[in-house]
């Protein structure tokens, strides 16, 4: 279709990033800025009884020590702008370990770090409830959360008669899966620099949602939204932790109070209690099926941790259970338990928790039915959305199973667990369906300016969280406008630009991609309009719909030799062509699927699991950029290895404190843990997509791969380990 869209274009900002020219938020240097360091509580619940700051205040270079005593009173922003329902440094109450109790501001970072150690705090502590398992009896089903632009999702759902169907089922699976707390750990730390000019503030923030950060600051500080500008040009990942959190608001408030710019960069350790985590979770799945593998009932109850300070916020929704398979009888409950821990957050592919349970349970059902797991999934495939009864507009999942299985060599698999060996090493092959919803967020606006030199600048207040937004949106704009890629400049990460929402929920392609397409289409139409209206143009008086724009040229589609250059059209026009469109309320809800396969090698003697192959075949709609989409698969698969094999945040339940709060104790996979990764794409445009047939996709690959790895471990060893991560202790305990 195009020489631009679909191509593996390298990142347009890649050179800037690898040469260090790209200025990340923590690199922003504002002359005269004070450096902030947080003092965090060491207790999980209680009140501050004494807060001794004098010594810190007298320490060299210290400008101020901000506490609940001298911070201005702030307004807690609305829930969709701050999931954490309180702001620290407002009163003496402690809601979780690691809550800020003071913010030290000094001339240098080192001075602030040192002074922070001089702040003395005493607490009147209260008993804490931190043990997830102990709180299970008090789990409750929250009402659905309401967010502007989003469809509320019920936390309880029943279709048909699941209990009856379970009772009548030929085959039943009744299993419980548990997953631990995880932390996002993006390579770039959260960082904020706030600079006031009069009553207006500019905030450089490592933010995956500049407009949300802007609104949260405005609400907290009682400012008109227009008085707050938030800038986030480059991000080193976010994975859900760079939505608005209190430290951004506090930095802006402190800077106003001391009348100096303030810079706050969170340390890795700070990040464990200041911007959320993936909740510990428990899920029970009951599946009923006929002997031929047809699902007759699904009952899925998930329980996840929330804190005492927020309501109605459950980051991991059981979408795969609701939408992925045909099943007439379904019940689903999403429950919460309150613990004295920090507020959880969305985290990369939030549906992975329920997806892991569902896809592992299906593997268990496949063994119960003595069926190939792909065959089982084909048996339960649905072409219509079970939620709505409407056909999925474009779903090529069956093709994904077929292509993935062929490329992986699945037909060579001996299904008997433990049957594939290399000496004492057991080899396991597992598979699962990958699926994640995309979009369903507020839509985006965009502005396109075509200069008299024939170049375009496209503006959206979105972010490039590392996924390739700069690149893919430049490609889309170039394609739609008919310009060479080099003539398009895509600008993002600034609230002065046209509105966009968070870089989250795989919504950037559906929301921002649609806005770029819509706005560039309009600009191209205007451009063609200029050409055909211009007596000096070779295209004068031709019908506009017979003109094609490509690579900087407008030509008559039926007679391509009749042409005019875009630059010439604009030069003659003599002034820039400016087109803007407004943001629709919603970006549309999409669903991208795929089939994923993993091979593991397990040493049953020493309990070591190594993933040796990972492969996925995916249906993301049209592929916009083969390179960046493959990167999404690589990233998702690496996350899946961490989720399944290595990552867990350890909680000391006595103190309500996360203890392995650094990258030495929290084990993210390293290169040696990751094998070569193969990614295949069906690449069929989704006719309902407003983004050239592409759908949101980034969160799909991780969902499924966790289960594929766990299913492969079962295939290798014959044992089901239903508690993640699958570490050596569990492997040797269950080795036969």
């Amino acid at each position: 279709m195009s020489r631009i869209v679909g191509r593996p274009v390298p990142r347009v900002e890649g050179h800037a990033k690898v040469t260090g020219a790209a200025e990340f938020t923590a690199d922003v240097h504002v002359p005269g800025a004070l450096h902030g360091v947080m003092v965090l509580s060491t207790v999980a619940r209680g009140r501050i009884t004494r807060l001794e700051t004098r010594q810190a205040e007298r320490s060299a270079g210290v400008a101020a020590v901000m506490t609940h005593r001298n911070m201005p009173r702030l307004t807690v922003p609305e829930p969709h702008l701050l999931v954490k329902r309180f702001l620290p440094l407002q009163d003496t109450e402690i809601h979780h370990s690691g809550q800020p109790v003071a913010l030290v501001l000094a001339e240098t970072l080192e001075q602030a770090q040192h002074a922070a150690t001089l702040v003395r705090v005493s607490y009147d502590t209260q008993p804490v409830r931190t043990v997830f398992e102990d709180a299970m009896d008090d789990a409750w089903i929250p009402p659905p959360e309401e967010e502007p632009g989003e469809t509320p999702v019920p936390n309880e759902l029943t279709r048909g008669d699941p209990e009856g169907a379970l009772a009548r089922a030929d085959l039943r699976v009744d299993v419980t899966y548990t997953t631990p707390i995880h932390h996002h750990n993006p390579i770039e730390p959260s960082a904020t620099t706030a600079v006031w000019r009069g009553r207006k503030v500019t905030v450089y923030d490592a933010s995956q949602g500049v407009t949300a950060a802007q609104e949260s600051i405005a609400q907290a500080l009682d400012l008109p939204v227009g008085h707050v500008r938030v800038i986030s040009r480059y991000l080193g990942g976010g994975f859900g932790c760079k939505t608005p959190w209190p430290h951004t608001v506090l930095t802006a408030a402190a800077a106003r109070e001391v009348d100096r710019p303030v810079k706050l960069v969170l340390s890795r350790s700070d990040s464990y209690s200041l911007h959320g985590h993936r909740s510990q979770a428990h899920q029970r799945l009951r599946l009923g099926a006929r002997r031929d593998g047809t699902l007759t009932a699904i009952d899925h109850v998930t329980t996840q941790q929330v804190s005492r300070t927020e309501d109605e916020f459950l980051p991991s929704a059981s979408v795969p259970t609701r939408r992925l398979y045909a099943c007439d009888n379904l019940s689903l409950a999403q429950r919460a338990v309150r613990l004295d821990l920090p507020t959880p957050a969305w985290m990369r592919s939030p549906e992975v928790m329920p997806a892991h349970g569902l896809e592992c349970a299906l593997d268990e059902l496949a063994y119960a039915a003595d069926m190939d797991p792909i065959e089982l999934r084909l048996r339960n495939h649905t072409a219509t959305d079970p939620e709505t009864g409407e056909p999925f507009p474009s779903k090529h999942l069956k093709e994904c199973y077929r292509r993935g299985a062929t490329a992986f060599g699945w037909s060579e698999r001996n299904p008997r667990p433990g049957s594939m060996r290399d000496g004492r090493i057991r080899i396991g092959w597992g598979m699962a369906t990958a699926a994640h919803s995309a979009g369903g967020m507020p839509g985006a606006a965009a502005r396109v300016t075509l200069s008299t030199e024939g170049t375009a600048q496209v503006q959206v207040a979105t972010q490039d969280i590392g996924t390739g937004t700069y690149t893919v949106m430049s490609q889309m704009a170039a394609h739609v406008l008919g310009l060479p890629l080099d003539d398009v400049d895509f600008v993002l990460g600034d609230t002065n630009l046209p509105y966009a929402s968070l870089s989250a929920s795989s919504a950037t392609v559906p929301a921002v991609g649609s806005a770029v397409n819509r706005t560039c289409t309009k600009a191209r139409q205007k451009l063609i309009g200029l050409a055909v209206a211009d007596p000096r143009s070779p295209l004068h008086d031709l019908p506009a719909d017979g003109i094609t724009a490509e690579e900087g040229t407008l030509y008559q589609t039926s007679r391509p030799e009749r042409r005019d250059s875009i630059r010439a059209v604009l030069t003659r026009h003599g002034r820039p062509l400016d087109v803007a469109t407004e943001a629709p309320e919603e970006s549309g809800e999409q669903y991208s699927t795929g089939a994923v396969f993993a091979e593991v090698r397990v040493d049953p003697l020493l309990g070591q699991v190594r993933v040796t192959r990972m492969l996925g075949a995916f249906d993301p709609g049209r592929v916009l950029n083969r390179r960046t989409i493959r990167s999404q698969v690589i990233g998702g698969f690496i996350w899946a290895v961490g989720f399944t094999l290595t990552e867990h945040t350890l909680l000391d339940t006595r103190y309500g404190r996360f203890v392995n709060r650094n990258l030495s104790g929290y084990l993210i996979p390293v290169n040696a843990d990751i094998p070569d990764i193969q990614a295949l794409f069906i690449d069929q445009p989704d006719p309902t997509s407003q983004a050239l047939g592409a759908r949101g996709f980034g969160e799909t690959p991780m969902c499924g791969m966790t289960a594929a790895i766990a299913n492969a471990v079962h295939h290798a060893t014959g044992r089901r380990i239903r508690d993640l991560p699958l570490t050596q202790d569990k492997l040797i305990a269950s080795a036969s």
């Binding site: 404190r657 709060r661 030495s664 390293v670 040696a672 050596q728 202790d729």
Partner: protein, 327 residues
Amino acid sequence: MKPFDYTRTARASEAVRLVAARPGATFVAGGTELLNLVRDRALAPDLVVDINQVPLSGIELRDGTLHVGAMARMREVAEHPVVRSGFPVMSEALLASASPQIRNRASIGGNLMQRTRCWYYRDAGSPCNKREPGSGCPAITGQNRWHAIHGGSRHCIAVHPSDLAVALSALQATVVVLGPRGERSIPLKDFYLLPGTTPHKETALRHGELITGVTVPGSRSARHSRYLKLRDRAAFEFAVVSVAAALTMEGSEVSDVHLAFGGIAPRPWRSAEAEAALRGRPLTDSTIASAAQALVSGAQPREHNTFKVELVRRALADILTDLGGRR
């Protein structure tokens, strides 16, 4: 971080004099560990004496004994042909440590002086007897998956993180140190202290003493040595359990064996009983099993690390099977 003074010298005696003169002074070599400890507020030196220019980086074999200077970098030692052929367990232990970047920078002396990775020690928001004597040890009844099953006390159950120290223990190495009163040698078996009631004291070094090198006697067993490291990810991670073994067989019989274990104790763990169960006996499943049993006899696992008892037995069996040529 607390402000500190910094100075550097190219003379070992001068470095020793400078550090000995100030109770809050410390040496810095590669800096890969000290900087983290200061950032984590586990240490707060008031003077840092940089010894990177001190010429102590030689690696040589003299009269059958390997001499490694304290300033030799991990990578240099790991890749040295004499080490690889005569002391493979050292090379393997070093290559299983840290990351290539850290191995390029970190010194041998600094490697031996690493502090525990116990998260309570590394988290200034938690109590820790090592960091703040008398504040308590949360690990004993807390998150102790990585902690000791041997050699702990009711004041501390942290494990020593160095892989190299485990290898050197099996090779019966000696640490050479320079102090204000001259040079002395400390056998590695006496270098690390058990925590007892003073977990903040980790080594036999007196304040101001500087490690200048390590000597390792060569032997048939040293040439026939291996390191097995088990951990929760494939690289860049400390041992959950590790074994260093040096073995000489006469026919099917074990004539000489030296074992040391990492990840299970506050110092590289030796088991004379396990070695005795093997020495002078044929290497069979049964002698290996008795050695493994002797190793874990008296172990004191905690709530989250009972698996180490079984894992270290299996690790020992695996390395002996491999070294004994039974595979």
